[in-house]
């Protein structure tokens, strides 16, 4: 039995003007510890699918299970979700931001300071617990957001284009960091991105979606030699560009 399974998911958005079918008959499974990416043209419903996996709303039909538990409405399941921007709360200190999830889960307050400082050093930041988000750069803030996500020890990490708002250098560094941390903690992760290179460099498997309505078009397996490398090293490997070409052509044919 796989770790995460998406079965027969359909989703339709309703507005006064129309009912728009965002996802049509999505079936996929992800193994424990696996890193997968969703890519596809805009409007292919990849973010919708991610939100459904996160249990943020219920699909029109079908279901998502993590370790045989239904995701939607399940309060015991902890899921880490990283967004395009860091969405750190500007009126909270870095420590309060990192431990927000713990506070909401009503955990022992005494341990918070330790958790925050060990997570900060874990994501490669100096001790900035008492600072406010506005005092940090964009790359540092996204690292804090990662620490906030990891603090609750989630079963699965959902990454919604978390690197797309960063400058190129920060983006490459953060890709390496996230990939490292996830391997270290043995976390399962799903990345939504529009960057083919990023998907290849980070993932074990890549799901390509086609648009209107969103359907699973093709699955690519990232070759073993790339998987063992860090994202930065993978970008320089010879099999990187050949996979890039294949996916690029497939993506072109969809538009």
């Amino acid at each position: 039995m796989s770790f995460l399974s998406v079965s027969n998911v359909h989703h339709t958005y309703f507005s006064k003007e129309a009912a728009t079918e965002a996802l049509q008959d999505i079936n996929l499974t992800i193994d424990k510890g696996e890193f997968v990416s969703f890519i596809g043209p805009s409007g292919c419903g990849k973010t919708t699918l991610l939100s459904i996996i996160a249990g943020l709303f219920e699909p029109t039909s079908g279901s998502v299970h993590i370790e045989n538990q239904e995701v939607y409405g399940n309060k015991d399941l902890s899921i880490g979700y990283m967004l395009q921007q860091d969405y750190l709360f500007p009126w909270k200190t870095i420590e309060e931001n990192i431990t927000l999830g713990l506070k909401l889960l009503k955990q022992e307050k005494k341990s918070f300071t330790n958790v925050a400082s060990s997570l900060l050093s874990d994501v490669g930041l100096p001790p900035v617990e008492k600072k406010y988000p506005r005092e940090l750069s964009g790359g540092m803030r996204q690292r804090v957001a990662l620490a906030r996500t990891l603090a609750v020890d989630p079963k699965i990490l959902l990454l919604d284009e978390p690197f797309s708002a960063l400058d190129y250098q920060s983006k490459l560094k953060l890709e390496d960091l996230v990939s490292n941390k996830l391997k270290e903690y043995g976390k399962t992760a799903v990345l939504v991105t529009h960057d083919i290179g990023e998907a290849i460099a980070m993932s074990d498997r890549i799901f390509l979606f086609s648009a209107r309505p969103g359907k699973l078009h093709q699955t690519f397996l990232v070759p073993e030699e790339l998987r063992t490398l860090t994202p930065f090293e993978a970008r320089a490997h010879s099999s990187y560009s050949s996979l890039f070409q294949t996916i690029w052509k497939e993506l072109e044919s969809l538009e």
Binding site: L56, L83, F89, Y132, V152
Partner: protein, 264 residues
Amino acid sequence: MNNQKLHEQFLQSLRKEKRWVRFYQLLILIAFFGLWETASRFRWIDPLIFSSPSKVMNLLIDNIADGSILVHISYTLFETVLGFILGTLLGAILAAILWWSPFLSKVLDPYLVILNSMPKVALGPILIVAMGPGMGSIITMGAIISVIISTIVIYTAFRNVDANYLKVLQTFNASRSQMFKEAILPSSFPTIISTLKVNVGLSWVGVIVGEFLVSSKGLGYLIIYGFQVFNFNLVLMSLLIIAVFATIMYQLVELLEKKLIKSE
């Protein structure tokens, strides 16, 4: 060294500008009262109606000496502060209820519009009959004049909170009350403060009109009494006192703003 010198020069030019601003502010103040006094002395304006600063000052000194004005000031101030706090607090609570139940907010929407457009001071006579001609009805006037507009403005702020903050909380399985406490309320603080600023002025209006109607104590009573016995020294004195205290209240709210909003 050179940089330090340039910085020193920059600071000096800032100080110089500030001094000039203060100078012109003072000049306007002196010119206003000077012109008023002169115009009244030379009968360019009718001193019976427009009084003069010296007459107002003399009256004020007399009234402070016999202690009568302090009673009036404390009554009005107490009513205004209480009406102001009640109005804003009630507005915030109502806004929270509307945020809690989107259905209720849809149902109540037209009624809020009606209540907001209606001139609340017109309710004065009814309040006085219902609650008796006392402090209670005056404080109520000070509060109802600001409660609906506060509700509308604060509720709008609640709704405009970036949904992604709520998404972050939702992934931590936060309850609705946790979302309110962690995201909705703190990110609406700037709006709540600016409502407070508007409400300072509004609650003075409510209380003064209330005192006009009840006519027993307070600065509003002094104004209406001065008008009835044609003593415009009294009217203008009360007006100046109101201006001073309303300004102080506003400054206090600004002080609160600086304390509360540290993230900016």
